[in-house]
């Protein structure tokens, strides 16, 4: 099809508009990356949020990631949170999704309603806090894991996926003498791998990014995840962590980075793992928006 002049003009304007829109999404982050590379000397000469540093330095990163620093510690906390939270999340979500996908199950709809209701009504902040307190989970790693074990929305998405697996498969396996456990592990588990991988990724990103639970449940700085260390540095600077080794070395540096560069570097450090896997995982998330749709 030959394009008319009007059509071509439309295409070019569209591309121009979308390029500007894309820059709106991208530039704030890029400028934070460049700020993180600014040295104290360059700051004195040129100001801070320059689009690119003439002589990029890693001083901010050196300081934040120094031996035994609180940031390294927080990296371990967050990594543990992601691994434990994702594994337990799947271990709890998958069996329940499987059970709820059995059409013959007695009281299946009431049980589903029981779960669905929790998506519409919550106890709210204070009762949740009181619960964690009464369970003795304050200042515990598990206060970040247990309350988030199952996301009901994702559970129902996983169930919908499994509803599409033909029941004849189970009947055939039972004919061949398979026990219910074997049916689950040998038949349904392999067939559900796509949805398990997708929802596992959602749990992982959720655990990497989530921060508010740790903000109210955890006081001990050594137990804080990365997001909370970032929040502390953004709102109060690095001084509050000076009791802990690693960050106190600022005074020993010959060219200490400006405070804003430190904050920017901490933002980059916190989000770097997400950024590195983002190109590969993006499609799983996009697909997930559609996943809930499989047969409603």
């Amino acid at each position: 099809m030959k394009l008319s002049r009007g059509e071509k003009l439309f295409d070019w304007i569209n591309i121009l508009v979308l390029t500007i829109v894309t820059l709106f999404f991208l530039v704030p982050f890029l400028s934070v990356v460049s700020t993180s590379l600014v040295s104290g000397r360059e700051y004195a000469l040129r100001g801070l949020f320059i689009l690119y540093p003439h002589r990029p330095v890693l001083n901010s990163y050196d300081m934040l990631l120094g031996q035994g620093s609180i940031v390294i510690n927080a990296y371990f906390v967050t990594t543990a949170r992601v691994i434990v939270g994702t594994s337990l999340g799947l271990i709890f979500t998958f069996p329940l999704a499987y059970v709820l996908s059995k059409r013959r199950l007695y009281a299946r709809v009431p049980i589903t309603m029981f779960i669905f209701f929790t998506m519409l009504f919550h106890g709210g902040l204070i009762p949740n806090f009181v619960l964690i307190e009464k369970l003795g989970l304050l200042d515990s790693f598990w206060s970040m894991i247990l309350p988030n074990l199952i996301n009901p929305w994702w559970l129902l998405i996983m169930r919908n996926f499994m509803l599409a697996i033909p029941e004849e498969l189970e009947e055939a396996a039972i004919m061949d003498g398979a026990s219910p456990l074997v049916v689950l592990v040998r038949v349904y588990l392999p067939l559900s791998m796509p949805v398990i991988a997708t929802i596992g990724l959602w749990y992982a990103v959720m655990h990497w990014n989530y921060w508010f639970d740790a903000a109210i449940y955890i006081n001990d700085p050594k137990k804080l995840p990365l997001q909370l260390i970032l929040r502390g540095i953004l709102e109060y600077g690095t001084g509050q962590y000076s009791d802990y080794s690693g960050l106190a070395e600022m005074t020993e540096l010959t060219d200490p980075p400006p405070a804003e560069s430190l904050k920017a570097a901490m933002i980059v450090i916190t989000t770097l793992p997400i950024l590195m896997i983002y190109p590969f995982i993006q499609r799983y998330f996009v697909k997930g928006i559609m996943l809930g749709s499989i047969k409603g």
């Binding site: 591309i15 009281a107 919550h122 009181v130 619960l131 989530y210 933002i267 749709s293």
Partner: protein
């Protein structure tokens, strides 16, 4: 024809099964439960999670009707000694904060809806018109990116942009001869910052559902329209938009249903006492007065007020969706 989008986005509770598999009384029910005991055993632990971490907090809401003392044991929650009726609710409705936080919640939500709802549709329309696949994919990938940043990171980026200590925006203002400003502490600007950040973080992501709806449009419709002499704008207006109108309506309804969630984490990370007057919402008030101020019963009462209103709103949204012939959330 394409599936109605209500079908696509909702998670259906009832899967064309009768409420109970068969109506043959208790004995038959017991036989079925025994037959599927493996399944019930599998479900037990996960369901226990819902009981403890989702339903116990609902039970805990009774402290809203008490003068709860955190130093007394669990038994105190279930005794009548501390019962005070609706005292905390009355205090809340009479307090000088009440109208301000309700207004802030609704106003901030409304502005986020006003800008954050149409912009993803426009973005989807533009992306849908791109003919170069590589460019299309690049735009999409970059526009989803901010959605994957944690709220702390996103708020940190916004702070970095706006700081008077050489933030990008202030440097631009200074370069053009203006004067650096403390944006985040200016009540006149704070809500605009919240809305802009929300658009930046979510617009790309929210466009996905509309793009998906557009992908189901039959290409013959465009060819027919082109044959009739419709130009690109006319095709967008008369073919694309009507074809996704069901998606637009249903998503709008449910966004209105979720209006009381004005962005708790975002506001908590960005606000300060100087902008409380324009940014303190129900959730932040519960956090400050209830949790930080240790008025647990009062905080629980305010939280209950919000949860009940939110449930009613969602219920109405669902009713409206049904009324319009769409399938709602349930």
């Amino acid at each position: 024809m394409q599936q109605p989008l209500g079908e696509q986005i909702r998670v259906r509770v009832d899967q064309d099964a009768p409420l109970f598999t068969e109506k043959r009384g208790f004995r038959e029910a017991w036989r079925q439960i025994k037959r599927d005991r493996f399944l019930y055993a599998l479900a037990a632990l996960p369901l226990l999670y819902f009981v403890i971490f989702r339903y116990l907090p609902m039970v805990g809401l009774i402290i809203a009707f008490q003068d709860y003392d955190p130093f007394l044991g669990i038994g105190a929650i279930f005794s009548m000694d501390n019962f005070v009726g609706v005292k905390h609710f009355r205090n809340f409705f009479d307090s000088i904060f009440f109208w301000n936080i309700v207004r802030n919640t609704v106003v901030i939500s409304f502005y986020k809806l006003l800008f954050g709802f149409p912009l993803p549709i426009i973005l989807a329309l533009l992306i849908n018109e791109v003919r170069v696949t590589l460019f299309q994919r690049t735009v999409q990938t970059i526009s989803y990116l901010p959605h994957f940043f944690s709220m702390v990171v996103a708020a940190g980026i916004v702070r970095a942009m706006l700081t008077p200590q050489g933030g990008l925006l202030n440097q631009a203002i200074v370069a053009f001869g203006g004067e650096a400003q403390a944006f985040l502490t200016d009540p006149a600007l704070f809500r605009s910052i919240l809305v802009t950040m929300d658009v930046w973080q979510q617009a790309g992501w929210n466009s996905i559902i509309f793009l998906a709806a557009m992908a189901t449009i039959n290409p013959e419709m465009y060819e027919a329209a082109a044959m009739d002499g419709a130009n690109r704008f006319q095709r967008m207006w008369y073919v694309t938009l009507p074809s996704i109108s069901f998606a637009i309506v249903i998503i709008l309804i449910f966004r209105i249903g979720g209006m009381l969630d004005a962005g708790f984490e975002q506001i908590l990370l960005l606000y300060s006492p100087s902008v409380y007057s324009v940014s303190d919402i129900i959730d932040t008030y519960v956090y400050r007065a209830g949790l930080i101020g240790r008025q647990y019963s009062f905080g629980a009462a305010v939280g209950l007020f919000k949860s009940v209103l939110a449930l009613i709103l969602m219920y109405m949204a669902n009713k409206v969706a049904h009324y319009l012939g769409q399938e709602g959330l349930w």
